[in-house]
Point group: C2
């Protein structure tokens, strides 16, 4: 799917830890990239040879400017190309000729909006043939904290986050927000157009980089989405969480959609599916990316959804508890034993059930905070503690309390480490020394309670979801020859999706004979139209010969169908109608979707997605993740549906979809989930436009 | 419902702008309230006489300390009482005796957790009898910026927000967050236990206070919730928005609930209903309160949901657009004409459809920002503009750009004022001079894009919802005598809720006769049990004599009901089942609720609430606000339901509820909304525990 790819692993040392660097296009003009990067490169001059290249020669920034790479005393291991667009290919050729091992291409390659265009492909293939690593074009540089390599236009904070970014301003913003949270970068790579080096290969590399504890990504173009997801999955399994901020391609939203699945399994849904498969943490903004990163570092995520809220004052505790409940966290009432233990040393008016309110205990004895937190964390009655409010502000009270705060912060960090359960802190004083001490101890600190609670809820959502895995695609099956209802049905039935028996007839008499053979009641469906139901092409509940014959004639007269299908009628009122489908996403391949069927599909948009193919276990998990899942479990005295059968049908459809790249959209809507078994009541195939071997007839 | 109340308006000048102040309990001990407040009071000594009172006499803070109020040369207009609890009543008596006109009671009155207890009631009635205004007890002080009255323990920023708070730490936190947003307070009142002065009276007063442009409230106890809501409604109608941060009473969540309505129309839902009725803006956290306040000041809320996103760079624009879409805002594609106008002066790679990406235009010509924003704001094609990203950071570029930024900020503020449409700005540099200039010009500035978009979405949600009004309660009707199904039905039918005809029978023969009279098919319902459906006490679709007789005998044998109701069966499959109910909330009185009925009530919790009684127009609005509203309008070829009839039934039920304070919960579930008409299929009344005149039989 992409010019680059990551089939063979390459050694990226020349990119991150080069023995020598040349900046081609170095300039004294302070608004040029060649100036910023030359200055940045020179900051590492004590660590490695730095050469400036400018075709006019002379001096740049008081240093000798060489006229070309060939003039240098040695081949630079890394060359940064910041030259005018027409000079790009000659500069690359020269770098290759002198033996450069990696190039960072700042210059735009293919025209904006045409990343991956012909010029990019040509650049990448020139570099690959020569065994040269190419980053960009249209990228903003590379940063390695440990190597002292700062080939980026701005100062960046140092830390343990490896950042891949397709936007310079966002890398800068994430850096500023990370610094405010006491975090920083081990490595930063500006991805540019990813003509050669793609995000997937860089994720693989970061997952093996000692200085990197977490991988953060801002990306606009996933390239080979499955390779991307597989690399992220490997990193996460190796203990390095991956946080992803992605923007959908706006062009893509213009694609034609012909089924409900097509509309509901959007690009955004495909990204969600990839995150679930790979165990990535999706973020919706730079701040959320940094907030999640803070929560994932240190002691890491909780093992469940139970949280205790701790505050000194009913207001902060009440607000935190309300937000936690609203975010889907559980606030269990603490046990009588635990409440009794907590009471010791707290004012008599303290609340200890959850939320815990120290009721002024903090200013009487600042260690009320850590004593209480330690007991609750150790109790096992909750999976995490959220502390909210004034802590950090005692510095403004008395000197005793100010000194106490620092000790409390350390004690809190110890209690977290001992219990292995996270504590998330919101303080009105995020810049206080006590807040810094907490951060240094690996306790995330947030300036607002909604961010603390939001991070905890997101991390708790992730519990048990990090092992779905990115599924391998099966070898493509024989492409479909036609895409009618009967073809779709046959394809899916062969793949294991159950349907009611059917006969295709072309006269009223044959319809009656088929019905007698199948058994009443039956359904008649007019064949040859896309939205049968909407044009009155489906007649339900025909329970005798006369009704069948009349319905046949009516369909014939109104719709002149190519033929009519006679099917045994499923017991609609005994089951729950599901929507089951799959869409072939341009980046992530086949994506499976399940949802509540019937009129509720469109109205409530209650759907779940996963990368296809899914196995029965994941299919079941998808079904049970629906808001409407209680209907499947048997709400208000109804019989529960046969989840095994429904999950098997979902898995079967997903396997068919994964074996047919020529199918854009595949759908069974509804699949009737019954107390025993499940049965497809309709089927639809939408071939990919231009896909070989498929026609678009229905 | 409360000891105080706001039936008669009082002049609160002695509280906010006293000619003289005495601090009773003034102290040199730096950890005592009497110290903090004395120091704070003395800061206003150039504006008014300030007297310190300590029963030991001598000096406090280098000032003379009087032994009692009687010793003072004049009666202080305002007295602050910060004395030990046992000294409180004598201090109040002394204040009354010397002719003090207002007292601020810092000392705790009734025990914590017993606000409104007997001691509070006694204090308030003593003050009221003497015509003295009493704030507190258990309050933290009062602040008036214009009067230079700072009887609060911390420095607070000055501005145009009137704040009422039931928590000192939250007032402090809100003050810090407000200051960071360039906002501050006109007045701050710590509510304490509201023994005499309640929030409602203070809202009324702030709504007429010249220096206050917006009223912000943190409250734990609404006291008389309807009076509170009416005061807020009047303030909002008078042009002063009210932002409300509330914490539910945790005790209240323990109340018994006997109907779906009882479970769904929670205390939180009642607060939501009060907000909708009064046009208040609910906030969930201190930061959200300040963010909303920033959005409401300046040019104010948008007139619709359409927004254009403006950024220099595709990343920031794409993230903002995705968040806006996710928050329910609309991003219309801009017209060809407008796109053409926008292109002038922008780089050829700029995107102008929406989101608008200046594509580096900002650094080439900083005025690309204001030129573009002005054109879009003036176009009428959107209701608001969100600008996101780097603006504010050009200061770090070149001097020309730095100077330009300030001019751009002013031009942006002008464009907003001229168009009357809001611009909300997110910048990576919220502390930059350009950001300050924007705030001074009334343009809200946020450090993260989720907050900018979140505020705009919340303000847009509010469009057209500010005129519902707090309904008056009708005079109480004759209390119900009994609460059986038949009683509930009769009560509601008399109030205008339609039901199918019914006959109560006590033999199979009478059941058959009743069915013949009513017409088949019929339903049989066993009388005398609370959850008829759950125990199999309802038999549907009986279409002949034999079926009726058999069903009767089956009910009799299984359930031994008191009697059996025979009703004509409604055409279930032709309509949509709704849940319609009301609950009498302890603070806000009757709250009406509508939702999707049947199994979906519990599963999807898709409900809407309003203060009862509601008229037909509001009832219709509630129905159409449901996520499932498309089902009512006729999704996928179904006939739309008779909204007039459904709304009339909702309004009728709400009127019955509002006339019966002895009823805790009242419910018709389901109400079948049909293409023509609506009909109640069940009815339930849950009397208030201990309510006179009602028994709890069913």
């Amino acid at each position: 799917m992409s010019a680059g790819g990551s089939a063979t692993r390459r050694d990226l040392t020349p990119l991150f830890e080069p023995a020598s660097v040349a900046v081609v296009g170095a300039s004294d003009d302070p608004v040029k990239w060649g100036n910023w990067l030359a200055r940045a490169a020179l900051r590492g001059a004590s660590r490695r040879a730095v050469y400036l290249v400018n075709r006019r020669g002379g001096e740049v920034m008081g240093e000798r400017a060489h006229r070309g790479l060939a003039e240098l005393p040695e081949a630079p291991e890394l060359a940064v190309l910041a030259v005018p667009p027409p000079a790009l290919e000659p500069a690359l050729d020269e770098a290759i000729a002198v033996g450069t091992r990696a190039v960072v291409v700042i210059t735009a390659g293919s025209a904006d909006g045409d990343a991956g265009g012909a010029r990019d492909v040509a650049l990448a293939s020139r570099a690959r043939e020569a065994g040269v690593i190419l980053l960009g074009p249209n990228c903003l540089g590379v940063f390695d904290a440990a190597a002292g390599l700062e080939l980026v236009p701005n100062d960046l904070p140092r830390g343990s986050i490896g950042l891949l970014s397709q936007s310079g301003n966002l890398a800068l913003e994430i850096g500023m927000l990370a610094e405010a949270a006491g975090l920083g970068f081990s490595r930063v790579v500006s991805l540019g157009n990813q003509a050669d080096l793609e995000a997937a290969e860089l994720i693989q590399d970061l997952s093996e980089h000692d200085g990197t504890e977490l991988i953060a990504i801002y990306v606009e173009d996933f390239r080979d989405g499955r390779a991307f997801a597989r690399a992220a999955e490997a990193a996460a399994r190796g203990g390095k969480p991956v946080v992803l901020l992605a923007v959908e391609h706006s062009e893509a939203t213009a694609r034609a959609v012909r089924s409900h699945t097509g509309a509901l399994a959007s690009e955004g849904a495909a990204i969600d599916a990839a995150c679930a498969a790979a165990g990535m943490h999706p973020a919706n903004s730079p701040q959320e990316l940094v907030d999640l990163s803070q929560g994932l570092l240190g002691v890491g995520p909780p093992h469940g959804r139970r949280v205790a809220v701790l505050a000194d004052g009913g207001g902060h505790g009440g607000i935190a508890a309300a937000l936690a409940g609203g975010a889907g966290l559980e606030l269990p009432a603490l046990s009588a034993n635990l409440r009794q233990t907590l009471r010791t040393g707290l004012p008599p008016t303290a609340a200890v059930a959850n939320p815990i309110d120290l009721a002024g205990g903090g200013e009487r004895d600042i260690h009320s905070y850590d004593r209480t937190a330690r007991i609750v964390l150790a109790s096992g009655e909750v999976d995490a503690v959220v502390m909210s409010g004034y802590f950090g502000g005692y510095t403004h009270y008395t000197e005793t309390l100010a000194r106490g705060e620092a000790a409390v912060a350390e004690a809190l960090a110890d209690a977290v480490a001992e219990s292995g359960r996270p504590l998330l802190v919101q303080t009105m004083y995020p810049e206080a020394g006590a807040a810094d001490a907490l951060r240094r101890g690996g306790v995330p600190v947030y300036p607002t309670i909604e961010r603390a609670v939001g991070v905890l809820a997101r991390l708790a959502d992730h519990v048990g979801r990090d092992s779905r895995g990115v599924p391998a695609l099966p070898p493509p099956a024989e492409p479909i020859a036609a895409a009618s209802y009967m073809d779709a049905r046959a394809l899916l039935a062969a793949g294991g999706v159950p349907f009611e028996p059917v006969r295709v007839v072309s006269s009223a008499a044959k319809a009656v004979a088929a019905a007698a053979e199948l058994g009443y009641p039956v359904v008649l469906k007019a064949l040859g139209m896309l939205h049968k139901s909407d044009v009155g092409g489906v007649v339900l509940g025909l329970s005798d010969e006369r009704a069948v014959a009349a319905a046949y004639r009516d369909l014939r007269d109104r719709l002149a169908p190519a033929a009519v299908a006679v099917e045994r009628m499923a017991p609609l009122d005994e089951g729950v109608e599901l929507l089951v489908g799959a869409r072939w996403d341009a980046r992530f391949g086949p994506v499976a979707l399940v949802g509540l069927g019937g009129v509720f599909t469109e109205v409530l948009r209650d759907v779940a997605v996963a990368l296809a193919p899914v196995d029965e276990a994941i299919a079941r998990e998808l079904l049970l993740s629906l808001r409407a899942a209680p209907l499947l479990r048997g709400a208000r005295g109804r019989a529960p549906v046969d989840l095994d059968a429904a999950a098997a049908a979902v898995a079967a459809l997903s396997r068919v979809a994964a074996a047919h790249p020529e199918i854009a959209e595949l759908e069974v809507n509804p699949l009737l989930a019954l107390p025993e078994g499940a049965v497809g009541l309709d089927a639809r195939v939408v071939p990919r436009v231009g896909a070989a071997g498929a026609t678009n007839q229905v």
